[in-house]
């Protein structure tokens, strides 16, 4: 699955992050960068690719109400 929406990291073991969304969780590889539990992140292609500030993560839902980009 490939949501392209922010999820929150709830655990990190070695280079694997567990990321939770509204209805599910998944694990993704941290390839590069520094991440911590509680960070909001974008996961794509099973990799953590970007950190998202909390206020932007919250704004994502408003964005999703509009047409596709």
């Amino acid at each position: 699955m490939c949501f392209t929406i922010p999820g929150k990291i709830i655990a990190i073991n070695n280079n694997r992050a567990t990321v939770v969304y509204a209805h599910e969780s998944r694990t993704a590889t941290i390839v590069t960068g520094t991440y911590a539990v509680e960070d909001y992140v974008i996961v794509q292609a099973e990799m953590v690719i970007e950190k998202v500030p909390k206020e932007q993560a919250e704004a994502w839902n408003e964005f999703l109400k509009h047409e596709s980009p």
Binding site: I49, Q56, S68
Partner: protein
């Protein structure tokens, strides 16, 4: 027909990284998402009407680009030119739903030309604006260190001339 097939495949390569947003909005099902991914992996063309139904904003912009260029919107060159030369300008002017997009999303949605700095089994590390970003090699598996690739979200899309 061969070039039409290539154009359909090229469009899907560039558009697929956005399908995650389309899925999150509920505009496509998980099964349709999986179908797109399978088509991409096997390089199977998807009919224009299906692609236009799933990615309507991209097609609106491609049609606008084709009108400016006086070219066929379904041609390989128009699709590539749209993504490489016109796509980011739509983001910068907050076209459509980009008006509501968080800055991180707008940054990830840009199509960038990026040199491959490191090749790993399933991904590349590419350099974008002095940052190193991991991108999947699922769509473009044959790049080497130093190759310039186009990047959309977390995917390398295709190799480009330097």
């Amino acid at each position: 027909m061969a070039s039409e097939k290539q154009a359909q495949i090229l469009f899907l390569k560039y558009a697929f990284p956005c399908a995650g947003i389309t899925l999150a909005r509920g505009h496509i099902t998980q099964d349709e998402f999986t179908l797109l991914k399978t088509a991409l992996k096997k390089e199977l063309p998807i009919p224009w009407e299906t692609l236009e139904r799933i990615f309507p904003p991209a097609w609106r912009r491609i049609f606008e680009t084709a009108k400016i260029l006086h070219t066929n919107p379904h041609s390989l060159d128009t699709i590539r030119t749209y993504y490489l030369e016109f796509h980011n300008a739509y983001i910068e002017k907050n076209d459509g739903s980009y008006r509501f997009a968080p800055p991180v999303l707008k940054e990830l949605c840009r199509v960038e030309r990026a040199p491959v700095r490191e090749v790993q089994k399933n991904y590349y590390l590419v350099a974008i604006k002095k940052n190193i970003r991991p991108v999947s090699n699922f769509i473009c598996p044959d790049a080497e260190e130093g190759t310039i690739v186009s990047v959309h979200y977390a995917y390398a899309i295709e190799k480009l001339d330097p």
